[in-house]
């Protein structure tokens, strides 16, 4: 029972980070219709940027702020240079441009930072777990979860209450109508990429705290795909539920299935789950069902 609860809480905490990254993905999809396969590399980029700032002696929170700023700049640049020219192209072209970007970023990251695992030194969070009742929670997981949720709430509030956020929502809802009301679609696209870069960057920084930063953080960023499929591609609440569910499922698989299938079942389970889930509910829990006509 204790093992069960521990696995559950760890899963929820990691899932919170996935949810944050998934939010960025869903925003891009909702606003500009781009299905982004470069999310893993964006997470990685955030992790390394934060690490570099932290190593310079800047406090962790400030390094995350710097990462956010770099995320904004990079997001706008990427959107302007690559994605802006592909509006209205077929889906394969847009997806493959994001794949090309992911290669480019992967090469760039390895070029700048090398392939060795790097750890945040001195450690930001103490190694001692703290206890609530009989539950032991690792400090890293707890504070990462808190930070992820806070940022998540900030993003959602931005989306809901500010003028820019509302114009993004309008574009997501109906692009033509939004254009006629004076919303600049190009601004919205750029903003959605900036937010996605920021969300992925912070997600990466938090994930990098757990096991150190190396290429496999990018793989964790890819887990956002099962999460958004589960929640539905264009649903913000779906991203939260999907992210947390994937985190929980992944940890349960690692704890319970590992005895039956030794090896990397923890890494692979979300994707296997996704493949089976797609057979039964291809549009996810809250995604819009597309009805096709001739």
């Amino acid at each position: 029972m204790e093992l069960f609860l521990m696995t559950l809480t760890t899963g929820i905490m990691v899932g919170g980070i996935y949810a944050l990254v998934a939010l960025g993905w869903v925003l891009i999809y909702k606003c500009s219709g781009v299905l982004n396969l470069a999310m893993g590399e964006l997470t990685l980029f955030g992790a390394y940027t934060t690490l570099s700032f932290y190593m310079l002696g800047i406090p962790f929170i400030l390094s995350i702020l710097c990462t956010l700023i770099i995320g904004i700049i990079l997001g706008i640049l990427v959107e302007r240079i690559f994605l802006d020219r592909l509006i209205g192209e077929p889906i394969l072209a847009v997806i493959m441009v994001t794949v090309g970007l992911s290669f480019f970023f992967k090469g760039l990251i390895e070029f700048i930072w090398g392939t060795d695992t790097r750890v945040f030194t001195p450690a930001i969070f103490s190694l001692k777990p703290f206890t609530i009742g009989f539950l032991k929670i690792s400090t890293v997981y707890f504070w990462s979860f808190v930070l992820a949720i806070v940022l998540f709430l900030i993003f959602v509030a931005f989306f809901k209450y500010t003028r820019w956020g509302l114009s993004m929502q309008a574009t997501a809802d109906d692009e033509t109508a939004a254009l006629s009301l004076g919303v600049s679609a190009r601004f919205v696209y750029a903003a959605s990429w900036a937010i996605a870069f920021m969300a992925a960057g912070v997600g990466g920084a938090l994930l990098g705290n757990i096991n150190g930063v190396n290429i496999s953080v990018g793989y964790l960023g890819l887990l956002v795909l099962p999460a958004v499929v589960l929640g539905g591609l264009n649903s913000v609440p779906g991203a939260v539920v999907g992210g947390i569910t994937i985190g929980v499922l992944q940890n349960f698989a690692g704890t319970y299935l590992d005895a039956f299938f030794p090896g990397g079942v923890k890494e692979i389970f979300p994707f296997a789950f996704m493949a089976i889930f797609l057979l039964f509910m291809p549009y996810g829990l809250w995604g819009w069902i597309k009805i096709e006509r001739m």
């Binding site: 299905l35 396969l37 690559f82 020219r85 592909l86 192209e89 889906i91 394969l92 072209a93 997806i95 493959m96 441009v97 794949v99 090309g100 970007l101 992911s102 290669f103 480019f104 970023f105 992967k106 090469g107 760039l108 390895e110 070029f111 795909l225 099962p226 499929v229 591609l233 299938f261 030794p262 090896g263 990397g264 079942v265 890494e267 692979i268 994707f271 296997a272 996704m274 493949a275 797609l278 057979l279 291809p282 096709e292 006509r293 001739m294």
Partner: protein, 365 residues
Amino acid sequence: MTKVWLPCGHYHENYAKDQGWWQTPVIKGKMILLLFIVFVVFPLTLSGYWLSVANMIGYTALGALGVQLLIGYAGLITLGHAAFIAVGAYTSTLLILKFPWPEFIVTLGLAYPISILVAAIVAGLWSVLFGLPCVRVKGFYLILTTMAAQFITVDFILTQYVSKIGGRGQAFSLPPGTIKIGPWVIDTDLRVYFLMITLLVLTVMLMANLLRTRVGRAWVAIRDNDIAAETLGISIVRYKLLNFFVAGFIGGIAGACWVANLAALSPEHFPWFWSLWLVGVILIGGAGIDGAIFGSIFMVMVMELLQMAAIPLSEYWPRILIFFAFIKDMAFGLAICAFLIYEPRGISYRWWQIKNYFNLWPFSY
């Protein structure tokens, strides 16, 4: 754009001629010349290094043909083709190393050819298994299921289970002399080249013939509009799964044939990177069978040239050789983006324009 304009004075008088491969004497001569160059001139003139580059091109082209069949002819976008190539390679290796072959088959050197065929069929069936979701989903969701195929097959089943057969850790070593066709042991680059080019030509013939039958036309119809195709009486599920089978079959051939080039087989030969690379190849190459081949020639040659440029530069900056793999990634990513933005129809479109220009010369249309 599949039709090339015929030169002045050539007409099709019946349907068979219209569908023919070699429609004019010039084209026939050109193709025979090409086959002559590929089968006779290249092996005689090329040195070992360039033969190994040619083998790489052949392997990439075999893989890319399968991807072209899925993406280019049936509109089923796949990002997991390396999984099926890996299944082909592993089936072939396991059959050669572990299967209790009767004595006469080993002495006649038939084990490897049989294993290629079996590997192709197994890879095809494996591909159908992961193609099953295409019954319900398409587009982006299909991309995700093929990605799942990649991770489940290569990173889990092959790495964790298949590689451990025999208890030798990660890789299967292939002792020299195990891969044998008839009396020839496939051990030099030249022999691998002949194996590769034979299989490539056979695969191209298979695909070209398949694409001008009812099956090929059904695939194109499904790609263009699947709902309309269904109303015309084409069973979408059956043809899509058939497409997955044939693509996996070709992938299996590619994998089994690549085994001949390797000293040891490990899952690291088939990363997700390789699936993406194959899709990049056909995007750069463009539509059609020639697109897949042009794309592989272009990509492999560009990477080789980059490497050749890197070696003299390393005198000034020694670390460039360490960084080369990363530069390769960046170059590949930028090449995909640049082609999609500036030349979305790929190299084969330019080739088509050049052919038309000469066929119609001196008129412009």
